[in-house]
């Protein structure tokens, strides 16, 4: 399972969650981690991703069960609201722990 290493062990390539590790998805997950929920426009603004880019990454995260997507109408305009699922929250925290371990225990160059 990605992100689960014993203390003192460096994460391996196979143990790092590649779905989260991709820079755009990492940004999306990080933003959703620090808020309860956010709409599409908010994430576009905060991450700097284009509509198409964000939409594509959002689909991948949703398919993996990491985010929940709710579509609703605000007035007459469609609005998409995103939030992390429990699985997404756990996966992000595991990823974070792996990377913290990697940076903390890797020797200086």
């Amino acid at each position: 399972m990605p992100g689960i290493e014993a203390p003192g062990e460096l994460p391996t390539a196979g143990s790092i969650d590649k779905l989260i590790h991709e820079p755009a998805r990492l940004l999306i997950m990080a933003h959703l981690y620090v808020v309860e929920s956010a709409d599409f426009l908010f994430l576009m603004r905060q991450t700097g991703l284009t509509f198409g880019n964000l939409s594509s990454h959002m689909s991948k995260l949703e398919d993996a069960g990491y985010i929940e997507v709710e579509k609703e109408f605000v007035g007459k305009k469609p609005n998409t609201r995103l939030s992390l699922t429990r699985e997404g929250l756990r996966a992000f925290e595991d990823y974070r722990r792996s990377m913290q371990q990697l940076f903390a225990e890797a020797p200086d160059g």
Binding site: A38, F42, R45, Q46, M99, L102
Partner: protein, 206 residues
């Protein structure tokens, strides 16, 4: 070491909602109105302004900020901090009320206490320090650092009433004008940084 600064991400997400300068504009206009009330001795109408301003502020945020920035529900920790800020403002009002009672007692007592004479003589300094202190606390609670700059301006503008001999309402008007203009500048920068985006359907080309 965290590879990604989550605290900074959260802080930026929160403060981006106040980059619009709308809060500054409302506070600045509020101070200008207070100066006007002082000039016309209609201070008792201040409560009416608060009743009107609050729903108006919410409506302006909905019209200007949300369509440009999107909508977000912040974490409980952040909303807890916002609640602390609101509690601070509420305590402020209670403290102001108590202060009024204390002053009333001092004025209507058999003789004025020494501290009362000192405060009356240097009212500009006292008021300037109190307002600046509140702005600094607000800046800390709300993460809006520009309120520290407003505190510095307050410390110059309000106590200078003793140097210039001009009425207090004029200095309040200057302070209100500075904050309002700063807010308008912020708003213009915000509108350029976050142009209005069409709805999701239009952006997606549906």
């Amino acid at each position: 070491m965290d590879p990604i600064d989550l605290k900074e991400i959260e802080r930026r997400a929160y403060t981006s909602y106040h980059e619009d300068g709308i809060l500054d504009i409302f506070i600045g206009i509020g101070v200008l109105i207070a100066a006007g009330y002082m000039m016309t001795d209609l201070f008792w109408m201040a409560g009416t302004s608060v009743a009107i301003f609050t729903p108006l502020y919410i409506q302006v945020k909905r019209s200007i900020t949300f369509p440009r920035l999107g909508q977000v529900t912040f974490s409980r920790k952040r909303t807890g901090r916002s609640k602390k800020t609101m509690l601070f403002i509420l305590l402020l009002n209670v403290a102001g009320l108590l202060l009024g009672v204390v002053f009333f007692s001092a004025v209507t007592g058999p003789s004025n206490p020494a501290w009362y004479d000192l405060v009356v003589r240097w009212y500009g300094v006292v008021l300037g320090v109190v307002i600046a202190g509140l702005e600094v606390v607000f800046a800390h609670l709300s993460d809006l650092e520009r309120f520290n700059w407003y505190a510095a301006v307050t410390l110059v503008v309000i106590p200078s009433v003793h140097l210039l001999g001009t009425p207090l309402f004029a200095h309040l008007a200057v302070l209100g004008a500075v904050v309002t203009v700063a807010g308008l500048y912020q708003l213009q920068r915000f509108r350029l940084k976050y142009p209005l985006v069409a709805g999701e359907a239009e952006v997606a080309g549906d």
